[in-house]
């Protein structure tokens, strides 16, 4: 491949009045270097693994064939195997519940907090900054802390609920199959709220005060102003936060690893964790790849919606 990286032939002609030095820095040469570096990085570390993953999902891959590219092509067998398992229904449903509830709660709480901190009371910016703590913590650490909080016998959560008289019996947050998934959702909502809040705060701050004042003069009360001014003007941010929230939630792996390992008996298993289990615990790598390809299709749809919503923003 011949890439015109040479800087001499793209040197700007205006350089004659200048000393020779800045032509690389200011000219098109550096632009090209930066573009090709980025492209190269994306191809090597994102595109190739993605394509390789798709290829593997159509092959029979096990521990003996993992080192070679020449593996038997099995068509849609991996997909059929994955979709016909008894646990599949539960896991797909769990994934939908996990994503749906997580995103809905993150969005509602994050938007509520963003609106609250928009009120500019003393210390509001400091407090808002504190909320970021949850977001910058490594997922495994968050999972470790929550597994202590939610521990059945000695967890703070059960102690608090019993001390305040809300429940009399201990709740087995992590080992009750009907509750385990919701425990992970609670921890995931805690992780995702700051991101939602910050992004939505930025959007709220961009709405000029005088537009609200004009609406006030036009006779709109608080609720009408929220419905007819805030919500429509936040459309792009809401679209971005929802699509990114879905993508981030589909990526959420650490919390499952730290809290429930998908158990008990797949009670809290979701597709991203299942894909990992198939590939790296059962070494059915082709099937694990098939699950992740199915997830990629979902993410592509969501990403398309996200791109559309930000394009609308640029037009505005």
């Amino acid at each position: 491949m011949t890439v015109p990286l040479s800087t001499t032939d793209s040197m700007p002609t205006v350089g004659t009045i200048r000393a020779s030095g800045p032509s690389f820095r200011d000219g098109r040469g550096l632009d090209r270097v930066l573009v090709w570096l980025t492209l190269g990085f994306l191809v090597a570390f994102s595109a190739l693994p993605l394509v390789y993953n798709v290829v593997m999902s159509f092959q029979s891959v096990d521990l003996f064939t993992i080192a070679s590219f020449d593996r038997p092509f099995v068509g849609l067998d991996n997909y059929k195997a994955v979709l016909s398992q008894r646990a599949t229904g539960t896991i797909v449903r769990n994934t939908a519940v996990f994503v749906g509830l997580s995103v809905a709660l993150q969005l509602t709480i994050g938007f509520g907090l963003a609106l609250y901190f928009q009120q500019r009371f003393p210390g509001s910016t400091w407090l808002r900054g504190l909320f970021l703590a949850g977001w910058i913590m490594p997922g495994l650490v968050v999972g470790g802390v929550w597994s202590w909080i939610l521990a059945g016998d000695f967890g703070v959560m059960n102690w608090a609920l019993q001390a305040t008289g809300i429940t009399s019996d201990k709740i087995f947050w992590l080992s009750d199959p009907s509750i385990a998934l919701y425990s992970v959702i609670i921890a995931n909502v805690w992780v995702g709220v700051p991101f939602n809040m910050i992004l939505l705060s930025v959007g709220l701050a961009a709405i000029p005060d005088d537009v609200y004042e004009a609406a006030e003069m036009d006779g709109a009360g608080r609720i009408w102003r929220f419905l007819t001014i805030t919500l429509p003007l936040m459309r792009a941010q809401l679209g971005a936060v929802i699509s990114l929230g879905i993508i981030f939630t589909l990526q959420q792996f650490d919390l499952f690893a730290a809290l429930t390992q998908g158990g008990p008996s797949n009670g809290s298993n979701v597709m991203q964790y299942w894909s990992w289990e198939l590939s790296f615990q059962h070494y059915r790598i082709g099937q694990g790849a098939a699950v992740s390809v199915l997830m990629i299709l979902v993410v592509i749809c969501v990403a398309a919606i996200y791109v559309r919503s930000t394009r609308h923003e640029h037009a505005a």
Partner: protein
């Protein structure tokens, strides 16, 4: 006359800052009132307290006889045109105009019909389905006006609506707004820092400084009889010249503190030897010889074709605005005369106008 807006002893504090100091103002039904003053004088704050967008610390505001001192904006039934226009960016021109009616539960068809009617008056018919971002500054300004006149409010409030337009458009819109006011006949309160806008548009001008009403009255009254040096200097363009001086021993002349100590007749009598500040409007200094003449050294002349502006080489500088071209006058001296009744005197201590 029927008072539409009454402001009784209104004070506004922002923490320790006293933004409005005991404002009393009565605006009759149908009048066009301009609030004018330098930036930070409190004119916008006063307008916003009338609108209900700012609370008042003490005092009372009544609109059409109803006390609205602590009522929210929507209970006051006023319409406002903002400096930045504050159009709803996600709504079309028609949507912007219909908003206030839709909020009040009026049907879409009715609101649209009214919007079409207003669009005819404001020349927006062709733009009804455009978004604000697709409009020029002047068009946005019209939409803001159109949105305000959709309802028939108790009064219109204007917050420097023309300051974002270029000079030519500003002069044009000045006349349009006044025409619209006359056509609708509603009460208007108009905030501006531009005394020309205030003088040309308003029936009644209120001059504010540092949260205090310095003077209010008909535009030409403010020009002819300013009550203090601030109003005298603020109203009129180019601004009035101020020269220190002293009343002569006869009490009927003032001796200016300029080279050769020129002597000017005044229209009345003041105590002899009284120290005064003499106010002379540039356009009242008429080139030529005659009674009450001053001979002044010339520093520079600017000619616009219709007028010539002479700066004198004196301390302080005087500005002379002459209606002729003053051919040949570029240095040397220029003689000007002034009608004694046009000489203003102010107290050097408290800057109030001295009676003649």
């Amino acid at each position: 006359m029927n008072m539409q807006i009454e402001i009784d002893g209104v004070d506004k504090h922002y923490g320790a800052y006293h933004a409005l100091k005991h404002i009393d103002l009565r605006i009759p039904q149908g009048q066009f009132v301009a609030l004018v003053g330098p930036s930070g004088c409190g004119k916008s704050t006063l307008l916003r307290t009338i609108a209900g967008l700012e609370t008042i610390t003490s005092g009372a505001i009544r609109i059409a006889g109803k006390d609205v001192s602590s009522a929210p904006p929507r209970a006051r039934d006023l319409a406002m045109v903002f400096q930045s226009y504050a159009l709803y960016p996600h709504k079309t021109v028609a949507g912007n105009m219909m908003y206030s009616m839709r909020i009040r539960g009026i049907s879409r068809a009715k609101a649209r019909a009214r919007a079409e009617e207003i669009a005819k008056i404001t020349g927006l018919e062709a733009l009804m389905d455009r978004y604000p971002r697709e409009l020029s500054g002047g068009q946005r300004q019209r939409v803001a006006m159109g949105r305000a006149i959709m309802r028939e409010p108790q009064a219109f409030l204007f917050d420097e609506p023309l300051s974002n337009l270029d000079a030519a458009l500003r002069v044009h819109m000045r006349a349009e707004i006044r025409k619209l006011h006359d056509r609708i006949g509603a009460t208007s309160v108009y905030v501006t820092h531009d005394q020309i806008e205030a003088m040309t548009m308003a029936d009644h001008v209120v001059v504010l400084r540092a949260g205090v009403i310095e003077q209010q009255g008909a535009p030409l009254d403010l020009y002819d009889r300013p009550v203090n040096r601030f109003v005298a200097g603020f109203i009129g363009s180019p601004a009035m010249n101020f020269v220190p001086g002293r009343i002569d021993s006869d009490g009927a002349h003032v001796i200016l503190d300029l080279p050769d100590n020129p002597r000017l007749a005044i229209a009345g009598r003041r105590p002899a030897q009284e120290a005064v500040t003499v106010g002379l409007r540039p356009e009242h200094l008429i080139p030529g010889d005659g009674p009450n003449a001053l001979t002044l050294p010339v520093r520079s002349v600017e000619r616009t074709g219709s007028a010539s502006y002479v700066r004198t080489d004196t301390q302080p500088h005087l500005m002379i605005a002459a209606a002729d071209r003053l051919a040949g006058v570029d240095a040397g001296t220029l003689s000007v005369t002034i009608d004694p009744t046009l000489v203003h005197l102010f107290s050097p201590e408290d800057e109030t106008a001295l009676a003649l």
